[in-house]
């Protein structure tokens, strides 16, 4: 009844690999899975010897498998990397507590240093507080924007060279479809890249990100974690059932059932898309306020924070002309406050207790006089 592994032709098969449809035993599956990730790392030149790499750790299956495999391959193939775990606590009651406990256990199991940063620390607002103000719609926008930048800030603090995230093939296929449906060409170009940021073309300083699990199917990540008995926690974000991604996710899973190779095919198609050279693409630069990576004068996170602090939570969401005017007025105010900083005057917004980002801007000015 049970079929034989196509690889060793000795042991009984325990799973069907979705990529190839072939039956594998547990041990051959481990080897194949790990070797494919190794080949991805080598072929794409993701790391260099001596680099410090922060693994974005959430306690979920993807980041747990990523941490496990990165440590394993780093030792097996002598990459020469220093690995650290970096966790973000969004401040969602009942959601992050247990997963952070899992990351703390991973810290011990894998013997890797761990840093935990909270939204409250970084932005002054936890997600629970944001949802009270914003409601169930749109709060994923806040969380996603804050989370992404939180990793950048954490990486800067830790002084690491790269950030590794646990995005898998299913995640990337979803993102490609979402960006196609939204007609977002700029993101479409970025979301298929296995390593983003750190281009030599620009002088902007920020920490590059890479996705070693880019070509790994979610089913294989789950089964790898299961057969290896890795300790991970899975739960549903209290607010995410309203997220747009859920619809695309369902569609991707339906496609996968019909034809498992569809996921890799979508990624391949996304990689092949070419944008006309005369299309205007947004330029990458630093935010005027917090100095982190941004494609606009003021980054999205600062716009959202300003909206929250001012009692205008819709600021930065949608394209309402009225809100755009308010944003313009705010920018004018911002310029005035920057010029006041040049005079080294201490205004109310720059007091010690304030979470205003002018403070960081002020530090930059004092550190690097023009």
């Amino acid at each position: 009844m049970p079929s034989v592994c196509v690889c060793c032709k000795e042991r009984s098969a325990t799973l069907v690999r979705p990529k190839s449809g072939e039956a594998y035993c547990k041990l051959c599956f481990f080897d194949a899975f790990e070797n494919e990730i190794h080949e991805t790392i080598i072929n794409e030149n993701l790391f260099k010897p001596g680099e410090t790499v922060a693994i974005a750790a959430s306690g979920g299956k993807d980041s747990t498998v990523l941490a496990h495999v990165m440590k394993l391959l780093n030792e097996r193939h002598s990459y020469g990397l220093k690995l650290v775990l970096l966790s973000i606590d969004e401040g969602i009651t009942g959601y992050r507590d247990d997963s952070l406990e899992t990351v703390k256990r991973n810290q011990i199991q894998y013997d890797l240093p761990l840093i935990i940063l909270t939204y409250k620390d970084l932005y002054g607002w936890s997600m629970d507080e944001i949802v009270k103000v914003v409601g169930l719609k749109n709060n994923c926008t806040f969380c996603g924007v804050f989370r992404r930048q939180a990793l950048d800030r954490g990486a800067m603090k830790l002084n690491v060279n790269k950030i590794a995230t646990g995005h898998n093939a299913d995640d990337i296929a979803e993102t490609i479809l979402m960006n196609i449906l939204r007609g977002d060409i700029a993101r479409l170009k970025r979301c298929t890249a296995i390593i983003t940021g750190g281009d030599n073309e620009t002088e902007i300083e920020f920490v590059p990100r890479c996705k070693p699990l880019k070509y790994a199917y979610e089913k294989e990540i789950v089964l790898y974690a299961f057969y290896k008995k890795l300790d991970y926690f899975s739960t549903e974000c209290l607010y995410s059932p309203n997220a747009y991604r859920g619809n695309v996710r369902t569609y991707i899973k339906d496609l996968e059932r019909l034809r498992p190779s569809a996921i890799i095919d979508i990624i391949h198609s996304g990689e092949q898309l070419i944008i006309k050279s005369n299309c205007k693409m947004p330029t990458q630069r630093n935010c005027e306020r917090c100095n982190y990576y941004s494609s606009m004068a003021v980054c999205k996170a600062c716009v959202l924070i300003e909206g929250l602090n001012r009692g205008l939570p819709k600021l930065g969401i949608g394209k309402t002309e009225r809100l755009r005017k308010q944003l313009k007025n705010k920018e004018d105010t911002e310029k005035m406050s920057i010029s006041s900083l040049d005079d080294t005057s201490t205004s109310v917004c720059c007091s010690e207790n304030s979470l205003c980002h002018c403070k960081e801007r002020f530090k930059d000015l004092t550190t690097n006089p023009t």
Partner: protein, 129 residues
């Protein structure tokens, strides 16, 4: 007992010889739909009686399969939002099924015939965020 109720529940006290014992597990977030309980020990009648047959003379006994087990799970264990777990005859795409730690795709999917003390594991990959 020579006759058992079709809807045996987890605490059925029937003799062991007349029951099919299974361990059903839900992980990956799927347990949220089942009273947040990951492991369920269930006793089922050894065979499914098909009383709807027009031929009343024949006592048809059918083996439990994953397909019929899913019907039972929906009726007896699923506490909320069945559409998050069941789709048509089968589990929703994105939910992996392992029988005694083996991928159900190797064992016949919905048509696998359950045996005594089988362990059926449902792992959801649909939760995220």
């Amino acid at each position: 007992m020579t006759t058992s109720s079709l809807k045996a529940d987890e605490n059925c006290s029937d003799g062991d010889d007349n029951n099919l014992h299974l361990i059903i597990e839900f992980t990956g977030g799927a347990e949220l739909l089942f009273d947040k309980k990951k492991i369920h020990h269930v006793k089922l009648p050894l065979f499914i009686s098909d009383n709807n047959k027009t031929d009343n003379n024949t006592n048809n006994k059918k083996q439990w399969t994953i397909r019929t087990l899913l019907v039972w799970i929906r009726n007896n264990l699923l506490k909320e939002r069945p559409e998050l777990f069941i789709q048509g005859d089968s589990v929703r795409p994105g939910i992996l099924v392992l029988i005694n730690d083996v991928d159900w795709e190797l064992l016949g999917d919905l048509n696998y015939e359950l045996k005594q003390n089988d362990n059926v594991l449902f792992v959801s990959t649909l939760h995220g965020g």
